[in-house]
Amino acid sequence: MNKWIWALIVIIIVGLGWWAIGFSGNSAQSGTGPIKIGSVLPLTGDAASIGTIDRAAVEIAVAEINAAGGVNGRQLEMIYEDGQCASTAASNAANKLMNADNVIAIIGGLCSTETATFAPAAMQKKVVVISPASSAPNLSQTGKYFFRDYPSDAFQGKFAAEYAYNTLGARKVAVIYHISDWGTGIKNVFETRFKELGGEIVSESGEPQTATDYRTDLTKAKAANPDYIYTPMYPQGDTALMKQASELGIKAKILGADGWDDPQLAKDAKNLGLDILYTTGKTGTTDAFKQKLQQKTKSPDVPVGAPQAYDAVYILANAMKSAGTDPDKLADTIRATKYDGVSGHIEFDQNGDLTVADYVVKRMANGTATVVQ
């Protein structure tokens, strides 16, 4: 019998413990102390390589703002939580930030999985959310306090399709994509748009984000002898794909998405004898920002979302300078913002998406990537 009693005691302790934590954390944002802001990025799991560097970009921005006196004299306090690119982890992380730390705003979800999980709750709690990289089209209907300074897949997929059809004159395209909210999203939009223009998708095959063997997909694509292979995939998949493509002697040219915008990939592609083009956001990513980031992370990568995360912090800080911390005023000010940041010109529409999302095309040649159009 005493086992039963012991069990009850433990349940009560943990339950009450949480209740107590809940109460203690209830200190509303005092008018003078530091302004608490949260960040939800994947620090472990599949997309950790991107998440950890985006976090560094946020840290640089926060340090710079605080050094320059913070917001109306109040310092910014950034609390980082791990979203793991998975819905349960992202929900727990965001809930802690919103309900225990009572943050004013959240910079994050990198993966659309994370953002789509906690954004609705944030809207209810009137917490401003600025996502630096979640590009899933369905996030546009999230709500009044949701913004993303990263173009929705709809833009990039459409731009790539038009560029391939009109400029590159491609008529038959094979698609190899990563099965993820980002990869599948872009693929769907690209295919619909490309078919509308009269092109033909000759072969399509997806692989999980963590896949390493693309030989069968490449062989299938090669057999369909397309003009171009369109590959919306994350950086690690691109490395393996390039290697295996060169091994298989793939002659068809490769058109990538912004997952390819990674200096390490350009170096690897140097003597693989592959013709690689890829679309990426028209980021006037100033070299100054790249130096700062590479110096902090000690890695050459400037992955998807890093410049956007840096800009997101500045947009939030500037908006708070004039609107203070009231969610509605803050949201309206952000919506009216026109900001030229390291990730390019930023203006928001009523859905919180970027109004203008122009892309550039870069070509990987002898170790570096140069803008083509």
Binding site: S49, R215, A240
Partner: protein, 287 residues
């Protein structure tokens, strides 16, 4: 269909790696009759050990390969000594051993993710300098040929050791019945320890092969599933069976991926496994 030669080569390449993975698992399972899920972790340790020695410390390739295999073997040996021996001494049930091995797998994989980060890392230093051999329109690289030869070499060594050496006879005796083997004076603890070292070392070779051919990630489930499916389908306790199972699995996966797309690769592999488990659990080649 000029793609056929390349598909055949894809199957051959993947088959090589799956066979290596299956051989290691077969060594462990056929001797101890125990499904060690930790095998996935031993294979990863092999790959990451070489990554650390060859790419970070910069030791020459051959030495770091050898050390990598030894470290993987040692991991298996120590795990058996620390975790499984105590459980077996207590006559723990298969369920207990299985759950403990699931713990070894989860712990091993997470520890590697912490030390080496969960990023994808390739073992081959300069990607492009592979010497290529083209057969018809299909292409196979030097590394892949090396992996293939390693697979058959390991199979050959294991067959010879298992059949013609005193150690091999002792192992087969334990495989049949551990108590009987002990009564005949075989120090089963020491032999099982050695078997674990060999099995984990072969698993390490498979991990290294994956590291060179495709790349490393702290996800041991893939290589574990391939090893188990190939070993079971091929025939538990039969070394030739493991290699046959490896190539058969590669065939089914590639055909499935070819017809239906890569994402269904695993579903096909498992469908084959379940069919065999139901209708021919002892696998194609008998023990």
């Amino acid at each position: 269909m000029d793609a056929v030669p390349q598909i055949v080569l894809n199957i051959v390449i993947a088959g090589g790696i799956y066979s290596l993975a299956a051989l290691g698992f077969n060594v462990l399972y056929s001797t101890t009759r125990f499904f060690d899920l930790g095998y996935g972790a031993y294979a990863l340790v092999g790959g990451y050990a070489v990554l650390c020695l060859y790419k970070w410390v910069g030791i020459n390739l051959e030495l770091s390969l050898l050390l990598g295999v030894l470290i993987a073997g040692l991991t298996g040996f120590l795990t058996e000594k620390i975790v499984y021996r105590a459980l077996r001494a207590r006559r723990a049930s298969n369920t207990v051993l299985l759950i403990a091995s699931l713990g070894v797998f989860t712990l091993g994989q997470a520890a590697l993710a912490i030390f080496f980060s969960s990023q994808f890392q390739s073992l081959s230093r300069d990607i492009a300098s592979q010497r290529l051999f083209s057969i018809e329109s299909g292409v196979i690289t030097a590394t892949q040929l090396l992996i293939l030869t390693a697979a058959f070499a390991v199979m050959g060594i294991l067959v010879v050791v298992w059949r013609y050496t005193k150690f091999g006879r002792a192992v087969r005796a334990i495989a049949d019945d551990e108590e009987v083997a002990q009564t005949v004076g075989i120090d089963s603890e020491r032999v099982i320890g050695a078997v674990y070292f060999i099995g984990a070392a072969v698993g390490g070779i498979a991990g290294i092969a994956v590291g060179f051919d495709m790349g490393l990630q702290p996800l041991g489930m893939t290589i574990l599933l391939e090893a188990v499916i190939a070993a079971v389908v091929g025939g538990i306790g039969n070394m030739y069976g493991s290699v046959l199972g490896g190539f058969l699995l590669a065939l089914v996966e590639n055909i499935g991926a070819w017809q239906f797309g890569g994402e269904w690769k695993f579903a096909f592999a498992f469908a084959v496994l379940i069919l065999f488990l139901l209708y021919r659990p002892q696998g194609i080649l008998p023990k």
